[in-house]
């Protein structure tokens, strides 16, 4: 099935079972209801991080995903609040709009490589934050607040998605939504990486000149990949806006862009599921250290340094052995 081995299928099944049944069960038993939001955040941030990972896959360090997450959050919020769209329509629209912006910006900047591309995307995050502060449609500094919860969707009278507004507790609903989105994202990412497009990306990552000599249209693929990456960013951001029911220019900023990148490094750049694990460890780790009070940041950073010191190729290199060639 889809070219998976039996072992992989079992792994996927265990993973799905764990997040859809296992986590709710554990939370139910331990009563740690606050973990729902944390894990929802992890899922959504992992979606955005997947995009960053994908740009790494064509050899670009992307510190601009915060910009696209913010764009997505605003597009969804504006469509829902000002145009009265259903959230479920605004979600893909947010992704598509972020992708369009990525195409426009990508045309000039994707020629850049290395630290130059990294820096220009970092500046991009600042630009988008400042634009959100300056534009009238984003409500400037006041942001957009009191965004209604996602409404229900029904097809021919059969309810497909329940109305979040009518729910007693939206935690579980948001958790499932985020997890489904995350799984779709990573399934798509996995397929993409293992399909022809993925192979072409890999060839570009390793040598753009050689890739173009064998007929790869590198400019085209760069744009496509950057657009897909930003689509993920837009989706993640839009979903977050819906949970917080508010969007501010500071909802996603440079620190977020940097964190998305760190998630990829921590998980391991060589592995599709690296960013997912990286996000879980970085974000959930912070929450788990909450008990440490004012030493939280100190311990967190020491652990982070220790991990990178001893596993410089990311956490997943532990399982797969040395992935690199150096």
């Amino acid at each position: 099935m889809f070219g998976f081995s039996a072992k992989q299928l079992i792994g996927v099944a265990i993973f799905l079972f764990a997040i859809f049944v296992g986590v709710p069960l554990i939370i139910g038993v331990t009563g740690r209801w606050d973990f729902y939001f944390t894990l929802t955040s992890v899922a959504l941030l992992a979606i955005a991080s997947a995009g960053v990972w994908l740009t790494f896959y064509i050899g670009r360090i992307n510190i601009g995903q915060g910009a696209f997450a913010l764009i997505g959050a605003y597009v969804s919020a504006i469509l829902v609040v000002k145009a009265g769209w259903s959230f479920w329509l605004s979600l893909p629209a947010a992704g598509v709009f972020a992708a369009l912006v990525a195409v426009l910006i990508g045309l000039p900047i994707l020629r850049l490589r290395g630290v130059y591309f990294a820096m220009i995307t970092l500046v991009l995050t600042q630009v988008v934050t400042l634009t959100a502060l300056a534009l009238p449609i984003t409500n400037g500094a006041k942001g957009i607040s009191s965004i209604p919860l996602p409404s229900g969707v029904s097809l021919f009278g059969i309810p497909l998605i329940p109305d979040f507004g009518a729910m007693e507790n939206t935690k579980l609903a948001f958790y499932y939504t985020a997890c489904i989105l995350m799984i779709v994202t990573y399934a798509a990412l996995y397929r993409l990486v293992n399909s022809r497009l993925g192979h072409l990306c890999r060839s570009m990552q390793q040598n753009e000149e050689l890739a173009s000599s064998i007929g790869v249209n590198i400019a085209h693929i760069r744009i496509v990949i950057f657009a897909i990456s930003s689509f993920f960013g837009g989706i993640g951001g839009a979903m977050f806006g819906s949970i917080a029911q508010s969007v501010y220019p500071s909802s996603f900023q440079v620190a977020d862009s940097v964190n998305f990148m760190l998630n990829c490094f921590l998980g391991g750049l060589g592995y599709v599921f690296g960013p997912m694990l990286g996000t879980l460890v970085l974000y959930f780790g912070w929450d788990l250290l909450f008990e440490l009070g004012k030493y939280q940041m100190l311990v967190y950073s020491i652990i982070l340094i220790a991990v990178i010191r001893f596993l410089p190729n990311g956490l997943l290199s532990l399982r797969f052995g040395k992935g690199g060639d150096k």
Partner: protein, 260 residues
């Protein structure tokens, strides 16, 4: 002999520096043509212009009568003119077989979406690529190293890998960038045989830039000689060996000799 590739009055200037000045020559179908010249003669620049890695300043390059200069490299590659690089330009963390498979992507029948969803055509493509890669590696005598990481290969094999990647695209014209550089006599002889069989058995026209004179004289049907960006001679190996201008050019520059 009909001209497959025509270089017409090509000039390249970098700022005030003229790298190539008004170069013209033809490449016939199914021949092996070498471009030689002392260091700084403008061989590499000419190569880059033919493969559209750099634009010409003036003049044009035609392939079957169609202009191919000043396009994008991937478009020229799609038309069947494919260049190789020197040994450092490889897909470092792919295996030999992976490199050859990926290089076949121009032959794909299924769309990118088809690959994503795993369509039937895509699966057939994948199988076909694998078969062709094995066949090609067998032909090049590289079957034994097909699962080696490219970065782990010794220099001689890297050059062969470069040719394998170029051949995998199913080219009509293969442009080889110094295929014999840094090889000892035996290795060079093997490579000469290989290049010749590429032309003989696969019908690929070969154009190469090279320093190694004995190898060039051995392999070439015809030779074009550049010096200081100008074409100073063209002809069969024996004609070139006896050309006054060529001898003078090589004696004038200390760093290379026309040793035979």
């Amino acid at each position: 002999m009909s001209a497959l590739l025509q270089v017409r009055n090509v000039t390249k200037k970098y700022g005030g520096l003229t790298a190539n000045n008004d170069i013209s020559f033809d490449v016939a179908e199914n021949e092996i043509l070498s471009v030689i010249g002392p260091n700084g003669a403008g061989k590499s620049t000419l190569f880059k212009m033919i493969s559209s890695f750099t634009p010409t300043t003036s003049g044009e390059i035609l392939y079957r009568g169609e202009r191919i200069s000043n396009l994008k490299p991937h478009i020229v590659a799609r038309k069947g003119i494919v260049r190789t690089f020197q040994e450092t330009t490889i897909f470092k963390s792919m295996t030999v077989r992976e490199s050859v498979v990926v290089a076949q992507h121009l032959r794909a029948k299924a769309s990118l979406a088809g690959y994503f969803w795993g369509s039937k055509t895509a699966k057939e493509d994948v199988a076909a690529f694998g078969r062709y890669a094995d066949e090609l590696l067998e032909f090049l005598g590289m079957s034994g190293i097909s699962n080696e990481l490219a970065s782990n290969l010794p220099q001689g094999n890297l050059r062969a890998l470069g040719i394998a990647i170029g051949l995998a695209t199913d080219p009509k014209v293969l442009l080889l960038d110094e295929p014999f550089a840094g090889m000892n006599h035996d290795e060079t002889m093997r490579m000469v045989d290989l290049v010749r069989s590429v032309r003989d058995e696969r019908g690929v026209t070969v154009m190469l830039v090279e320093h190694d004179m004995p190898a060039v004289m051995n392999i070439s049907d015809r030779i074009v000689v550049l010096n200081f960006g100008e074409k100073i001679a063209q002809g069969t190996p024996s004609e070139i060996q006896n050309n006054e201008k060529v001898i003078e050019a090589y004696l004038g520059s200390a760093d290379d000799e026309i040793g035979m």
